[in-house]
Amino acid sequence: MLRRFSIAIVSLILLAAPHGALLAQAPAGQSEFVPVNGLPESEKLPAAPLLVVAYAVFLVLMVFYVWTVWRRLKKVEADMHALEQRTAKGGR
């Protein structure tokens, strides 16, 4: 009986040990993203290219959009002109 009790106690301690270690490692009161400090230089990404790409994307998107509106407007005007000419021919 005593042997079984000892085995149970030892098993419980062995099962609980990793959890205790994990709990000891968990950061206290962390509720949002926390940046890592002291990252080695080799692990750091350069910020400038990402920043330049972000601003360039904005410029390209806006220019592209204005170009698509201008192209559609030109097509509508051309269709309108063609239709007016067809109507004028039909009326004669």
Binding site: F33, L45, A47, L50, L51, V57, M62, V69, V76, M80
Partner: protein
């Protein structure tokens, strides 16, 4: 509005010329340093998108209840701008996240709901283009639904745990005396003026398209 177009275009050009200098001279955020400067175009992109949501919602409600073609033109034009400004936000965000979080994308509630909201307006445009006759009403309902869920996308960061900063960041920066407020406010104003200009340009196109449709109908008669 035609009279205001040129002065607004000049104002937008001046604001977009000033903004890079203000952003370059703005102080560095202590943990993210240079990459945080994406913020000055990332947040105004979403401001532009939310301006579009307001116009699309009001235009769609007006169209559904009053049948106004003008309101429908404004709603459809605003929906295109929602997709445009939203796309800019969805591209600039991951570029910032790659450096700040170490990942391009995170399937957390803020990013996922913003993507779904954007997709909703992509669906709006697809419904209008391929939905056939009567699709304007269905699209208007999609726009109203999208606008109705948009406040939840905005406040989601305050409700659920997410990597994205909370909504209090922008008011805090505007109150901040350390020089981050001016570049942010100038960029926001520049984006709002740009939104107004692009909206008017797109509405002018919609007017011409409607005029062409009427000409076709008259020609068939």
């Amino acid at each position: 509005m035609k009279k205001l177009f040129a002065p607004l275009a000049v104002l937008a050009a001046v604001l977009f010329a000033i903004a890079p200098f203000l952003i370059a001279n703005a102080p560095y955020e202590s943990t993210m340093l240079l990459i945080q400067k994406i913020f000055y175009f990332h947040v105004p992109s979403w401001v532009g998108m939310y301006c579009g949501l307001a116009v699309a919602a009001v235009g769609s409600v007006w169209y559904l209840f009053k049948g106004s073609k003008v309101a429908d033109r404004y709603a459809a034009s605003a929906a295109e701008l929602i997709v445009l400004f939203g796309l800019n936000g969805l591209i600039s965000g991951p570029l910032w996240a790659r450096k700040a979080w170490g990942v391009w994308w995170q399937w957390d509630v803020k990013l996922t709901s913003a993507l779904l909201l954007w997709l909703m307006f992509v669906a709006y445009l697809l419904v209008r283009k391929y939905g056939g006759p009567g699709s304007e009403k269905l699209a208007a309902a999609v726009a109203i639904f999208g606008a109705a869920v948009s406040p939840f996308v905005y406040v989601s960061v305050n409700i659920w745990r997410t990597m994205h900063p909370k909504t209090s960041v922008v008011p805090d920066i505007i109150k901040n005396p350390q020089g981050m407020a001016a570049p942010l406010l100038v960029s926001m104003l520049a984006f709002v003026v740009l939104f107004v200009l692009l909206l008017n340009l797109r509405v002018a196109l919609a007017e011409r398209q409607d005029a062409l449709d009427e000409l076709y109908l008259a020609h068939e008669d």
